[in-house]
């Protein structure tokens, strides 16, 4: 639907290589921009990290790989590693065709470049939207195959033999008839002189040696011995450390700071005032923190001092009464509902959420007269570079973005607000400075997952069958801010995901979108699963309500509406079988089921929950079935499902940012809770074998979990959760 069309248009705008354009458009992408990303540092297989493009290998037939005369192979990653496993699965794609030992390959982050390292599903260099595999599945294999063909050709020329009698294996070209062998390193100079072939044949899936076979992550060593480098680990000679305090009230301004007191603190060298923030610069972070306390900044709280979550909800509720932009209109839902025997109505609400990445926002910057170096972990290197160019007035060549491993992304690092702020501070500081946000700043000045307010209705006929579906979504439009060009006919394609294109078949469907922004200063952004997380909660909850209304089994009810959606139907059937759906459970226990279609993947989950007499909710089991097409690194997919499920549980059980007197009430992990190890359910993940095009897996595990859990609560208690996070006293 519109998302794909939108992306296709963007792809046309890129000077993309023609083969990839065709290949990409074949993928059935419904990519929203939510989850993962990419950038430019290097991390060899043993976990050592270095800056991008530090070597100048003789053979570099494309932007993704280089081979030097010693045969050392370097892969440059168009996507950044933030936990989702791309620094293993993307190398598998290249190595599969290049025929090299993946465990000996050196991996580097890519430098900022929105053309060479473009995510073709999105249009810029971006790790997000669960697109990493979908966007690279063909081009990275093609990159590897191209290089292999050139190396084989070079060897054949040297031997003066027919290249079709030669093959490559484990970094060596072999001449079949004579058994002659030449390793890649000895061929790079000759290969570099050859024209880069346009058309190379990729392996058929039956020939895959790496793709589809679990491979241990290549980035683990550095993550278990402390050597992995995140942005916050940047260390430069003479570097200073700064902590920042942003106006605690949204839209407030800095009035004054006690600069003398701050500078009297040992180690504090400077106070930097920005319009809405202050930074204390010191020899160490602790000194800077002490300096900030002494500085006692005073704020003009601005226009939002009375704003509370309740006001924002009231604004959304009022906006949701208005007609919106029409995202889908099949048949005559309004008429069918009016003629129906009964009508079922519901309002679903989902809160503001923080990302709370374990690595808080930070950025290290060195501004000189004619250059600006930035050390940061980002999902958008190219956009970050452009933003820094704008702030500094410098040219592209003067602004260098050194990307790092991300200590969690979840969409937070699709934004560069922290980098822009750090650059503004660094412009006033002599030498390099690392700007760290404390956890409190990180939570109180996040760019939040929007608060969503969904009205939904169905008409029910005399037999209890739902005959029409009408849905109005109200909330903040992330895309309107992030890239207004993606808005089409007033529709935010992300905000209506998994609603305008819900998997279930109804003859009469009407879906509308109403954009309603929170008060100025409260910024909204991508959060794991984005529109699909919102849509899946509402659609899967309401389908469950309709099943209950019809006194039907929630699984059977769904299956009857999925005749035209065989992969969706199949994951539901498999998860039912594997979980023993329908089994009798002890009192106080219940099981819920949910389906998530999105990012090119199909996920079904069954959650089992215990609710005690006091209303305490404890999820005990989760069964998850995934059909994501071809599974490049199957164990990574299981890991992403486990991750997504636990992330979704944290949000459903605890996740909520609330606002009072114009400021965020939560401060740290004590009041913005995330799941701990003693709270996790037993999780069983099953992958469906498939030859379909690969789908995304970073986000849908989270999207599917929340309604599966609340549906389980309904099964256990007869109480419906229509507002997250879960509070049994608010159930209906």
């Amino acid at each position: 639907m519109s998302t794909l069309e939108m992306k296709s248009r963007m792809i046309e705008n890129q000077d993309a290589v023609s083969f990839t354009r065709r290949a990409f458009l074949k993928l059935t992408a419904t990519a929203a921009i939510g989850g993962g990303l990419m950038l430019g540092f290097g991390l060899p297989a043993r976990g050592e990290v270095r800056d991008s493009l530090t070597t100048n290998a003789p053979f570099a037939p494309n932007a993704f790989l280089r081979i030097d005369r010693a045969g050392k192979v370097t892969f440059v990653m168009p996507m950044i590693e933030m936990g989702q496993g791309t620094y293993t699965s993307l190398p598998m794609l290249i190595a599969e065709e290049l025929e090299v030992d993946i465990d000996k390959v050196v991996i580097e982050h890519s430098p900022p470049d929105d053309k060479v390292y473009v995510n073709r599903l999105i249009g810029v260099q971006m790790t997000g939207g669960s697109t990493a595999i979908r966007a690279t599945y063909v081009p990275l294999r093609h990159a590897g195959a191209t290089a292999r063909v050139m190396l084989v050709t070079a060897a054949a020329k040297r031997w003066n033999v027919d290249p079709s009698r030669c093959h490559a294996k484990n970094g060596v070209v072999v001449h079949g008839p004579t058994g002659g062998r030449l390793d890649y390193g000895s061929l790079v100079d000759d290969a570099a002189k050859l024209p880069v072939p346009d058309n190379v044949t990729l392996k058929a899936s039956a020939e895959f040696k790496l793709i589809g076979t679990p491979h241990r992550r290549l980035d683990t060593a550095g993550k278990v011995d402390g050597s992995a480098k995140f942005g916050i680990d940047s260390r430069l000679p003479g570097m200073k450390f700064a902590v920042v305090a942003i106006s605690p009230t949204f839209g407030g301004k800095l009035v004054s700071v006690d600069e003398a007191k701050a500078k009297a603190m040992k180690g504090v060298s400077q106070v930097v005032r920005l319009d809405d923030a202050v930074a204390i610069v010191a020899v160490h972070t602790w000194a800077a923190k002490q300096g900030l306390v002494a500085a006692a900044p005073q704020w003009d709280p601005g226009p939002n001092t009375t704003v509370s979550t309740a006001d924002i909800i009231a604004q959304l509720a009022a906006a949701s009464e208005k007609a919106g932009a029409v995202a889908r209109h099949d048949g005559d839902a309004a008429g069918a509902i009016a003629r129906a025997t009964r009508k079922v109505d519901a309002v679903y609400q989902q809160p503001f959420l923080a990302h709370a990445t374990m690595e808080p926002m930070n950025c290290t910057v060195h501004v000189t007269k004619d250059s600006c170096d930035v050390w940061v972990g980002t999902q958008v290197p190219g956009l970050t570079q452009a933003a820094v160019m704008k702030v500094t007035g410098m040219e592209r060549e003067q602004v260098r973005i050194h990307n790092h491993l991300l200590g969690g992304g979840f969409g937070r690092r699709l934004e560069y607000d922290g980098t822009v702020r750090a650059v503004r501070i660094a412009q006033r500081v002599e030498g390099p400075v690392q700007v760290i946000w404390t956890r409190e700043e990180d939570i109180q000045h996040d760019m939040y997952r929007p608060y969503y307010y969904d009205r939904i209705s169905a008409g029910i006929d005399a037999k209890g069958k739902a005959v029409a579906w009408s849905h109005r979504i109200t909330g903040s439009s992330i895309i309107a801010r992030y890239n207004p060009a993606w808005i089409k006919d007033g529709i935010d394609p992300d905000a209506v995901e998994n609603s305008a294109n819900l998997p279930y078949a109804f003859k009469d469907i009407h879906v509308e979108w109403v954009a309603q922004e929170p008060p100025t200063g409260i910024q909204t952004s991508w959060w794991r699963g984005v529109g699909i997380t919102r849509g899946t909660f509402v659609v899967e909850s309401f389908i469950d309500e309709l099943a209950a209304n019809a006194k039907q089994d929630p699984l059977a009810y769904r299956l009857a509406l999925l005749d035209k959606n065989p992969r969706a139907k199949s994951v539901l059937q498999i998860v039912a079988k594997r979980s023993g759906w329908g089994k009798k459970l002890p009192a106080g226990n219940g099981r819920g089921i949910a389906l998530c279609t999105g990012f090119g993947s199909f996920i079904a989950q069954v959650v089992q929950v215990t609710v005690d007499a006091k209303g305490a909710v404890k999820p005990t089991h989760v069964w998850c079935v995934v059909d994501c097409g071809i599974a490049v690194n199957p164990d990574t997919i299981s890991a992403q499902m486990e991750s997504g499920i636990i992330f979704g549980l944290s949000a459903a059980l605890y996740g909520e940012i609330t606002i009072k007197d114009g400021r965020v009430e939560q401060t740290n992990f004590g009041d913005y809770r995330v799941l701990r190890i003693n709270e996790i359910p037993q999780i069983k993940v099953h992958l469906v074998k498939s030859t379909e095009a690969p789908g995304g897996i970073g986000e849908p595990g989270t999207s599917c979990l929340m309604p599966a859990l609340t549906n389980a609560i309904y099964a256990a208690t007869g109480k419906r959760i229509r507002k997250l996070p879960i509070r049994m006293e608010e159930a209906v």
């Binding site: 989702q84 402390g226 480098k229 160490h284 972070t285 374990m358 969690g408 499920i645 701990r676 190890i677």
Partner: protein, 156 residues
């Protein structure tokens, strides 16, 4: 002047006595494997050992470590040979990896005290260490695996 012994190496430094050990380790010594996560002992990312006991270095004044044996993730083994590191690699535990130094340092103390921990033991010992990527099921598996390795004499 404060004297510190970290990973067997002696350091002397001029630092305010109330400075949390975390910042001294990360910024004065440049050992960045120990992470800042919350600054108030809520997440465990900063876990190190003082004389073999796990402490949250973000709330431990450097003076408490003076003259003691401090071990950080960099000092756990010189070559990834510690059973926990081997188990973490075998189970593909880390995702983003940011919290894993703290997880491993906490697990090391657990295994010393309970060489064959139950799931309940693991829950109790590890509940103070947050992981936003949700690697908990694999942390649990890896601790059991490391325990088996140590029981077979893999311990160093």
């Amino acid at each position: 002047m404060i004297s510190l012994k970290v990973n067997g190496k002696e350091y002397e430094m001029e630092v305010s006595p109330d400075t949390p050990l975390l910042w001294v380790i990360r910024e004065n010594l440049g050992l960045t494997g120990t992470k800042y996560g919350c600054g108030m002992a809520q997440c465990g990312a900063c876990t190190v050992h003082i004389n073999g006991e796990a402490v949250r270095s973000c709330v431990t004044p450097v003076t408490r470590a003076a003259g003691q044996e401090v071990t950080t993730i960099e000092g756990l083994s010189p070559d990834l040979s510690h059973p926990l590191q081997r188990a973490w690699i075998a189970e593909d535990v880390p995702q983003c990896g940011y919290c894993q130094s703290g997880q491993i340092m906490a697990a090391a103390v657990l295994l010393r005290e309970k060489p064959r921990p139950t799931d309940e033991d693991i829950d109790r010992a590890m509940a103070g260490n947050l992981c936003r990527c949700g690697t908990y099921p694999r942390i649990r598996k890896a601790i059991h695996r490391a325990a088996r390795m140590m029981a077979k004499g893999g311990a160093k």
